[in-house]
């Protein structure tokens, strides 16, 4: 099934300059991956002759979109590859794994109330071996622990109808905040409340669809897109100024990919979605800046691939620049290697760790108090692969609010 409504002809602008291939994290560690140029724009010209020209090696693409960032011609290389995989590709043998890894909201719901047990079990050697052998999920991979209480239930219990502010925004918390890291959601509310903005949740939300797309569940991804779009429209109609997200990947999906998946939607609801740092820098610029006390820390900033692609690094950097006392160092841009669910698969584990190696090295060398990053899976990967503790920019900002 085609992911995007219109067929993408941007490959026609490819100058064959090799910039994408030279920046591809996968190609740099796997010479058997012919790289984004050959898999994307070159391959697409061939596939228009006949689908027979589809190469097996496309499956190694992580969808990190660094090729698109490198491209001087605005070719949607990563999209072309994802689309070709879905359109011409055949299934693979780890269907159950793909299903489990990609249906993050379902997995989260199933663990509700059983989080301590699930966390304990996913840590056991037996469970890891079973997952490795039967499912193809690498046994060396650490699973993110599930929270004992979901963010949504915390919100319902603690906050629903209790905030009284003239201005309100809606928060697309996403699966990770809901099931794994409610603290980030709580920090977000704290920061926004301090700026006299109330935070509402969407009436309902489903997984944004990033892992679904990555694993070829395009139909389900589109269904989720439609579902979430309805929720967004509803939120805007009932008085929210906009919808914010604290996940750079969810935000990218909602804002950039939904309109292309669903076609034009009346009123352009997707344009109302903002990644949190963009929203905050705009507020700061307009004078709505809370009082910030110094945070005397030395932090390294790691820019996640999808945030780079959306141009959002500017916002996060600008925001962090506002925190007094913060010693901020922009790490040399390098993919961490996890690429969402990619690094969980046993055939990709080594590739994933090899890709991240230069980043891990920088982090270990840098003697930072924290690593700051916007993306939940980058956090998982860096915490698993280095000794560093990883914090979201909003949580860092929340610290600056404290007495």
């Amino acid at each position: 099934m085609n992911l995007f409504k219109d067929s993408d002809r941007s490959f026609d602008s490819c100058l064959k300059c090799t910039a994408c291939s030279s920046r591809c994290p996968v190609a740099s560690v796997r010479p058997d991956f012919p790289g984004p140029k050959q898999c994307g724009p070159d391959g697409e010209r061939l596939r228009l002759k006949s689908p027979d020209f589809l190469d097996e090696a496309l499956k190694y693409c992580t969808g990190c979109k660094r090729c698109e960032v490198a491209c001087p011609s605005d070719v949607h290389i990563s999209d072309i590859i994802a689309d070709a995989k879905a359109r011409y590709g055949k299934g693979n043998k780890f269907k159950i794994r793909e299903f489990l890894l990609s249906h993050t909201d379902l997995m989260g719901t199933m663990t509700r109330g059983t989080a301590p047990i699930v966390n304990a079990v996913t840590k056991t050697k037996t469970a890891k071996v079973v997952m490795h052998k039967a499912l193809g999920i690498d046994q060396r991979r650490q699973f993110p622990p599930y929270a004992h209480k979901s963010f949504r239930s915390w919100y319902k219990a603690e906050l629903e109808d209790k905030q009284v502010f003239a201005r309100n925004v809606s928060y697309f918390h996403g699966c990770f905040v809901n099931y794994n890291l409610p603290e980030l959601g709580i920090d977000t509310i704290k920061v926004l409340n301090a700026m006299n903005i109330g935070v509402q949740l969407l009436k309902k939300e489903k997984c944004c669809g990033v892992p679904l797309v990555a694993n070829g569940f395009h139909k389900k991804a589109k269904a989720n897109a439609r579902f979430n779009t309805d929720s967004i429209e509803q939120a805007i109609d009932s008085g929210s100024e906009c919808v914010i997200s604290t996940s750079s990947s969810c935000a990218f999906m909602l804002r950039e990919d939904y309109p292309r998946m669903l076609g034009e939607t009346e009123g352009n609801p997707h344009q109302q979605v903002n990644y949190i740092t963009r929203f905050l820098t705009q507020e700061f610029k307009n004078g709505n800046k809370p009082e910030l006390k110094p945070v005397n820390l030395r932090v390294g900033y790691h820019s996640p691939c999808h945030l780079i692609r959306s141009g959002g690094v500017l916002h996060t950097l600008s925001l962090l620049r506002e925190i007094p006392g913060l010693q901020l160092h922009q790490l040399e841009s390098n993919c961490c290697g996890i690429a969402g669910t990619y690094g969980f698969k046993k055939e990709n584990y080594n590739t994933s760790q090899d890709i991240g190696e230069p980043l891990f090295h920088q982090i270990e060398e840098g003697e930072f108090d924290y690593i700051v990053t916007d993306c939940e899976t980058c956090k998982m990967q860096i915490e698993m692969s280095t000794s560093a503790e990883v914090i979201h920019p909003v949580s860092l900002l929340a610290r600056a609010l404290d007495v």
Binding site: L15, C17, T18, A19, C20, S21, S22, R23, A27, S28, V29, R30, P31, D32, P34, G35, E68, V69, A70, C71, P72, S73, D74, R278, T281, F284, K285, I308, R309, S310, G311, G312, V313, L314, H315, L317, S318, R321, E322, H329, Q330, E332, S333, P358
Partner: protein, 421 residues
């Protein structure tokens, strides 16, 4: 947040301008969109390689003096030879701070030759340490060997041998080629024929170096110059130095077909220097439009934002990076709609014509402060630098690197002065 200075364009000129601003303590952000042309470059910096009659230039800064008399609209005319020298000297120092020690010819103020993968010689001012600097005279050279690793496609030793032999100075020099089949220790089982230079650089390991050095000693131990594809000095592993040490041979690295390990290395060094000085480098932010009123840039628009700064430096490059766009009707500067100067003859009938092509000389017009204009009115807080400028041919003159660096250095200098620093 208001930036002191926004640099639009993250290539050689943009990063140079960014580094100079950051060094002066300005809050500077470089907005980039698409990979810089440095990625495909030799990683060497040329200042002036050919004079107007097509003869190679031995003393580039003196050459600039002569050039700007003949071509008063040339960007170099704003600086003069001495300032260009200062800019290049400063640049070399900044790059050296990152550990990359670019080298000049052994003789003061002289160009050296850079050997190409087709066996041509092009004059250069700064070269990567492992690329070496060929002296202006070749007295000592009796035997040259181009060495490739079997299967690797982006270095052509047989072509390079033929190319070098066309040069009269090498008429009586023995030029040959040699292919060495490597096991590629870190290549995960892949072979060189599937690799680009960046991958080959990662794949080479100790056992490969051992094989290369023993083969060199056995087969070409008497060579005066051994040229190899540039993939032997990357990520802190300087295999080339190791090879020089083990064989005692004069081995140099020659830039391969794109991507170029040396070019990427230089780009990385510039980004890292900029970050170390506290500058922010933001990729994937194309600037779509600038808002200008009363001869000042008010703001610039990106797909997502309106950004404001006290000063702007435009280093968006030429056609490749869309600093200039061309349609069937003509060429324009897309962000601000700046005044352009087009060459009368847009292109020559031969691609590799000695005279070069008019499209290369086409660009944005500028005043002595490097301020561009719209409908004849100069823009006070906007400066332009690099490949976007009109009036020079970076390739035929062999001046691309020098113009990018020196004009960016000057543009940043103008901003710093205005900020009262």
């Amino acid at each position: 947040m208001k930036h002191d200075c926004l640099v639009i364009g993250g290539g050689l000129a943009g990063l140079t301008a960014g580094i100079r601003c950051a060094e002066a303590g300005l809050k500077v952000t470089v907005l980039s969109s698409g990979e810089s042309a440095l990625t495909f470059s030799s990683g060497a910096i040329d200042v002036l390689g050919m004079d107007t009659s097509g003869m190679p230039v031995r003393h580039p800064f003196q050459g600039i003096g002569r050039l700007i008399v003949e071509q008063p609209d040339h960007p170099y005319a704003l600086l003069g030879g001495n300032s260009v020298y200062r800019a290049l000297d400063w640049f070399q120092g900044q790059v050296a701070e990152t550990g990359l020690k670019l080298v000049t010819a052994k003789i003061l103020e002289e160009n050296h030759w850079r050997l190409t993968a087709a066996g041509a010689l092009r004059p250069a001012w700064l070269s990567q340490p492992t690329a070496g600097t060929l002296d202006w005279d070749f007295d000592e050279i009796r035997r040259v060997v181009f060495v490739n690793f079997t299967g690797f496609l982006d270095f052509m030793p047989e072509l390079a041998s033929a190319g070098l032999k066309t040069n009269k100075a090498f008429e009586h020099v023995c030029v040959s080629s040699l292919n060495i089949t490597l096991p590629l220790e870190n290549g995960s089982g892949a072979t060189a024929d599937t690799m680009r230079s960046t991958q080959l650089a990662r794949a080479i390991g100790e056992s490969d170096i051992e094989l290369i050095s023993s083969t060199l000693l056995e087969k070409v131990g008497d060579a005066d110059l051994v040229a190899m594809p540039a993939c032997l000095n990357v990520a802190g592993r300087n295999w080339l130095e190791e090879l020089r040490r083990r064989t005692g041979l004069n081995i140099i690295e020659v830039a391969t077909l794109p991507p170029s390990v040396h070019g990427i290395g230089l780009l990385r060094a510039l980004r890292s220097r900029f970050a170390a000085l506290g500058g922010f480098y933001v990729p994937a932010v194309p600037v779509k439009q600038g808002v200008v009123s009363n001869g000042r840039v008010e703001s610039v628009q990106t797909p997502d934002d309106i950004l404001e700064a006290n000063h702007y430096i435009l280093t968006t490059g030429s056609y490749f990076s869309k600093g200039m766009t061309s349609k069937q009707q003509g060429v324009s500067e897309p962000v601000f709609g700046l005044d352009m100067q087009a060459s009368e003859e847009f292109c020559d009938s031969r691609f590799l014509a000695r005279e070069g092509h008019g499209f290369n000389r086409t660009g944005v017009v500028f005043n002595k402060h490097l301020q561009p204009s719209i409908n004849g009115q100069s823009i006070e807080n906007l400066h332009v630098a690099g490949a976007l400028l009109a009036g020079y041919d970076p390739i035929i003159e062999g001046s691309g690197g020098g113009v990018a660096i020196s004009t960016a250095w000057k543009a940043a200098g103008e901003v710093i002065e205005k900020m009262g620093l």
